[in-house]
Amino acid sequence: MQNNEEGVISICNMKGILKNILDYLDSKVDYADIRFVETDREKIEVENGILSTYSISKDRGTGIRVLVNGAWGFASSNDLRKEALFKIAAKAVNIAMASAMVKKEDIKLAPEDKHIASYITPIIKDPFKISSTEKIELLIQTTNLMLKDKVKKSEGSLDFSKTHKWFLSTEGSEIEQTIFESGGGIAAYAIGEGDFQKRSYPSSFGGDYATSGYEFIEKMRLLENAERIAGEANELLVAPLCPEGEMDIVLGGSQLALQVHESCGHPVELDRVLGKELSYAGGSFLTLNKLNHFTYGSPLVTITADATLAGGLGTFGYDDEGVPASKSFLVNKGKFTGYLTSREDAFKLGLPSNGAARAESWNRIPLVRMTNINLLPGNLELDKLIGDIKEGLYLDFNKSWSIDDKRLNFQFSTEIAREIKNGQLGKIYKNAVYHGITPEFWSSCDGISKEKYWHIWGVPNCGKGQPEQTMHVGHGTSPARFRKIKVGTSK
């Protein structure tokens, strides 16, 4: 154990020390920034009415990024002692000097104003002030309610975090932010002989998340939806396999969020386009020559990046390079019009950064990441969207996903498919799979439902980079219709 007398800086003195380090670095570097990040988290998991995990955690540390001789270096540590912080500053410089041995040109950053600012997620109910007993009891009741008929396994989870971070740079920016996140969901597994079927609510893979307080969980109405979800899982177990063929489909909002994520969010990341992720995540079909010259989808398709949306999981005040949150158009009326950028990558296009450089925590560098990537709503009522389909499917809630390294050839499967016949929803099918090629798919979009069906879905598990970083992003969507899509089934 270490005690404070050994030099651990108290949190209230941290800002002064960080400034001292920047002063120390100023003469040695072209540019430097420091991020101190502290995250408190509470995670609850319940299975079949029994608590399986209750954990609380605190994680904090400091990351220092420097540009020396036109090349990057970054070092980070959990050690908050003053001498340890100066040591990682020196280490970052040493690493940057090694990087400079293998460079093609000096790295330059798009200009950015100095910001002295603070930001706090607006919340109504602090999730850390709600008793753990109340939260656990909600999941116990909900998961017990789902244990009906063939539902032999039910799961519920809640996850809350409060991240406090400081960003300081040699350009004079000093930004303090506090981001609250709340999320959770439930799932029912109907298990039969050689088969099981899962239904999740409100979304798959852990539920739905937002930068919000506990009010977000209350609005989910987990308990009220438990029996319906269990019922659907039971129905799926005995449902026929999804028919195969080319047909018209409507994607529900949750599945559409993942479609936007994989086929638009990732390929517009400018670092991918510039080849920086080639060995791991891959590149992008949206090459530089396509900017403003490529038809991405039908004229109905407008996709934005918007980190200012209230409640979005990709909402913040400033990104991790100190650039203010902003809204930009990635696809405008079907035309490809913009990338997600960092300061470094934006400079190459002669543009300012649109504030999409985000780091998982103190121990990772900012990379180009999604914020809230949104398909803007259309003008159709949902019954009209479905009503104009003679024979087709309504697909929702992702089960499996895969897309190639240029983000063109995708295949998704969904938890549930509903027959659409003569404009009416019909029976349930299981194991639905649909696939396509990104621009062809989006060009086949001929209807998007109205704003009242629009919701920002929180995706807390977007992976990228080496070492891997998991990012929390949002996707605003409302159900949309796509014509002549290849649909099939997993066996």
Partner: protein, 446 residues
């Protein structure tokens, strides 16, 4: 990094703060550095020093977990106090939680002083070596070189004290020129074994043949999978098939099939920390010793791997595959997947293939149907058509939808040569495989 004596002393000091309650502790201390390069220059270069401490308090089958990344005394005591308070109000488990008793560990993590002390300058020199060699042929190099050390300590109030330190070097690279690409990965504990000259030659060998790619029609093909591709398939199988929790819940293809001979006799797959080619972890995250667990033996499905919680709940034996406390709800994963070698040479596998496809690497593999272990994914960075015993053409990338069960049933040749490749937890030791049952479902134009 702190040594074994620090941690023994640490446990003695913190013990009294649990006020007689049972507890478990997992500590993971790491120093990792990683240099990334793209288009033949270094674009990211990072270092991390961190320590994660997790305490689990067990209060009459009521459990709470606290996690922090600091050894600061006041933070530590506050966290333990909070965990004790929380444990009192937690609901009870539906089974009795027992702590692991002190154990004997028969294997040790692999450590290399050179790897621990490998500098950013030395990583840059390795990358320069690769870039210079591939640039001579007009190729650009991208990839990452990571070196690092991790110490794991698992202890509990019953007297378990397990300490292990290991080093890791993890390297991967893609080289590109127009549409011509190749990929190679390398994982080991000792950076002395990182032979950039050999890796560059292998990359160029693949890339120089991966040109003028043609399209082939989707369908069922005989394929030869590289160890890289086999490792990916086996990792997915470990995750979605051989997790004992999924098996007990009836959510795995293994459920109810233990003892059935589903595969050719040549198929033996185990979780084996004693395999010379792997990088073992000596114990799991509650302190059980790691041991060899056969998953498939001589074509017969044996069983999966079991974590401590699942074993207690279902009255099974824990196989030494418990994950860290925050991942406990996942069940168990195989730490060191090993596939038994065969008798064949890669050259003979190709020579004996009338029509087939050689696959160097998969991309974005995901489980489509867990009950049949059906996977989907893409090929990438070197897929080739085999005609009349020879590699004749490079192929554009294809999507596959194929069941691991069907794939393994169709295996008729396995190489003697095996390689160590990155896996989900520890590395995977995999040979080349030929199978006559692999389904390509769609194609791309690149």
């Amino acid at each position: 990094m702190k040594d074994i004596f620090f941690w023994k002393n640490f446990i003695e000091k913190v013990k009294k703060n649990f006020k007689g309650l049972d507890f478990e502790m997992v500590a993971m201390e790491n120093n990792n550095e990683l240099t990334r390069f793209a288009q033949s220059y270094i674009h990211q270069n990072v270092a991390e020093t961190n320590l994660n401490l997790t305490f689990k308090v067990i209060n009459k089958d009521k459990i709470s977990i606290v996690k922090l990344n600091s050894l600061d005394e006041s933070e530590l005591l506050k966290s333990i106090k909070r965990a004790i308070q929380l444990s009192k109000i937690m609901p009870e488990l539906d089974y009795h939680y027992c702590l692991v008793k002190p154990q004997v560990y028969k294997v040790k993590g692999k450590y290399s002083e050179k790897t621990e002390n490998f500098t950013p300058l030395e990583r840059a020199q390795k990358i320069i070596q690769l870039i210079e060699r591939v640039n001579q042929k007009g190729y650009e190099a991208s990839g990452a070189l990571e070196t690092g050390m991790e110490t794991i300590i698992v202890a509990n109030s019953e007297g378990v004290f397990a300490f292990d330190r290991e080093t890791k070097v993890d390297f991967n690279s893609v080289i590109t020129k127009d549409n011509s690409t190749a990929y190679h990965s390398f994982i080991n504990s000792d950076v002395n074994h990182l032979d950039i000259e050999r890796i560059s030659d292998e990359l160029l060998y693949t890339a120089l043949r991966n040109v003028d790619q043609v399209e082939i029609e989707p369908g069922i093909y005989t394929v030869i999978l590289s160890p890289e591709a086999v490792a990916e398939i086996l990792s997915e199988a470990g995750y979605a098939g051989f997790d004992g929790k999924l098996i007990m819940e009836g959510k795995s293809f293994v459920s109810g099939k233990q003892g059935e001979k589903l595969f050719p006799k040549s198929i033996t797959i185990a979780d084996d920390p004693f395999e010379k080619l792997t990088m073992p972890i000596p114990f799991d995250f509650v302190g059980y010793p790691r041991k060899r667990i056969d998953l498939i033996k001589d074509g017969v499905i044996i069983n999966g791997v079991y974590d401590h919680l699942t074993a207690l709940k279902y009255n099974m034996e824990c196989t030494g595959n418990t994950l860290p406390p925050e991942s406990a709800s996942m069940g168990a994963l195989s730490f060191n997947i090993v596939m038994k070698q065969g008798k064949d040479q890669l050259e003979d596998m190709i020579l004996n293939t009338k029509k087939g496809v050689y696959i160097n690497r998969f991309h974005y593999v995901n489980v489509l149907d867990p009950m049949n272990l059906e996977l989907t994914g893409m090929t990438r960075d070197g897929t080739f058509l085999i005609e009349n015993g020879k590699i004749t053409k490079a192929i554009k990338n294809m999507r596959f939808n194929s069941s691991v069960v069907d794939l393994l049933k169709g295996v008729d040749m396995i190489s003697r040569e095996r390689h160590t490749k990155p896996g989900f937890v520890g590395p995977v030791v995999a040979p080349y495989l030929r199978t006559n049952n692999f389904t390509f479902s769609s194609k791309t134009n690149f």
